[in-house]
């Protein structure tokens, strides 16, 4: 016996009330619970509510462990990001940044860029955060773990930017190597985030 739309929505509502905030995590949990409930209804010849309550009561801990985020999820996101450096487009971006540095290092353009680098990055970080909040919180009204987990890297870069380039102590010398390393980290992050977005929008996870 297959569950109908209302029964699926009932499971979705239950998960939402139990703080499973991300749509993509919830989708996989709904399918898992629904399949188990369908089987229980068939084997034990009981109705949906009875099967649902019985399944959830005996598997509650395991079900919600699917929604648990650990430091390992953060570590795995960081690993993915650094693994992305090995992609040809990332290597190309790194080579391009280094080449542009050697071309423009004696010019005023580079001097200005270096001086206000922290502000440029800050502006980009804030614009991205505001735009994605408007899109996911305001327009879609849905949160996706697949998207939000890429923000872990962005937050780290945000703090590196503030600490590394010390915006309030401008007289301090900023090394060119630091500028290049940070530029590479940032540009590769942008490529990585775009790649993840592309994967996300091409999947069926975006629920209209």
């Amino acid at each position: 016996m297959k569950l109908n739309k209302n029964q699926i929505q009932f499971i979705d509502g239950y998960l939402q009330r139990n703080d499973v905030i991300y749509v993509d995590i919830r989708a996989e949990m709904i399918d898992h619970i629904a399949t188990a409930v369908e089987e229980k209804m068939k084997v034990e010849d009981i109705d949906f509510h009875e099967a649902f309550v019985s399944y959830v009561n005996s598997n509650r801990k395991e079900i919600f462990s699917m929604n648990k985020k650990t430091w390992q999820s953060t570590l795995s996101e960081l690993k993915n990001y650094f693994r992305f450096f090995l992609k040809p487009k990332s290597l190309f971006a790194v080579i391009l940044i280094i080449t542009l540095f050697f071309i423009f290092r004696e010019t005023m353009v580079y001097a200005y860029l270096k001086e206000d680098l922290w502000f440029c990055f800050l502006l980009i970080f804030l614009s991205y955060s505001v735009l994605s909040m408007i899109y996911f919180y305001g327009i879609k009204k849905k949160r996706y773990y697949f998207i939000e987990r890429t923000n872990i890297v962005l937050s780290i870069l945000y703090w590196i930017n503030l600490f590394l380039f010390k915006p309030f102590e401008k007289e301090e010398y900023v090394s060119d190597v630091l500028v290049i390393v940070f530029m590479c980290l940032f540009v590769v992050y942008v490529l990585y985030a775009l790649n993840q977005m592309n994967k996300f929008f091409n999947s069926k996870l975006i629920i209209k």
């Binding site: 109908n4 989708a27 709904i30 399918d31 629904a34 399949t35 801990k61 993915n80 069926k204 629920i207």
Partner: protein, 121 residues
């Protein structure tokens, strides 16, 4: 306890033996069955081992997501029975990785056998 043997349910130490093999078990199943979804994997393991081995949701899904992130698995999402279903299948990299991991596991079993029961080897 992530993955446990029902016969050894009360022994935490024994579950450690299975824990390290979870990803290899999943990859082997996907190699044999093409593509599978989460619940199907848990049921298949239960069926093959006649209920002796139970993969829990809390262990399976993080392992699947990790393998997906590593490029070992790829995902196909389909609308099935009023809900979305995420199917996992091996990538090209995953297929060759499975062969390596199975060879490694076989070697491990052989070595264990020699230690535990030297007469049989």
């Amino acid at each position: 306890m992530y993955i446990c043997s029902d016969v050894n349910r009360f022994s935490m130490k024994n579950s450690q033996l299975y824990k390290g093999s979870l990803t290899t078990i999943v990859m082997k199943l996907l190699e044999e069955n093409g593509r599978m979804y989460g619940y199907e994997i848990t049921q298949k393991v239960k069926e093959i081992t006649k209920g002796e081995l139970k993969i829990t949701e809390g262990a399976l899904y993080p392992a699947l997501h990790k393998l997906e992130a590593e490029g070992v698995l790829e995902v196909e999402i389909e609308n099935v029975d009023n809900r979305l279903r995420k199917y996992y299948k091996l990538t090209e990299k995953g297929t060759s990785e499975t062969i390596n991991r199975l060879a490694e596991l076989e070697e491990f079993i052989k070595n264990m056998q020699s230690i535990v029961n030297p007469k049989l080897t």
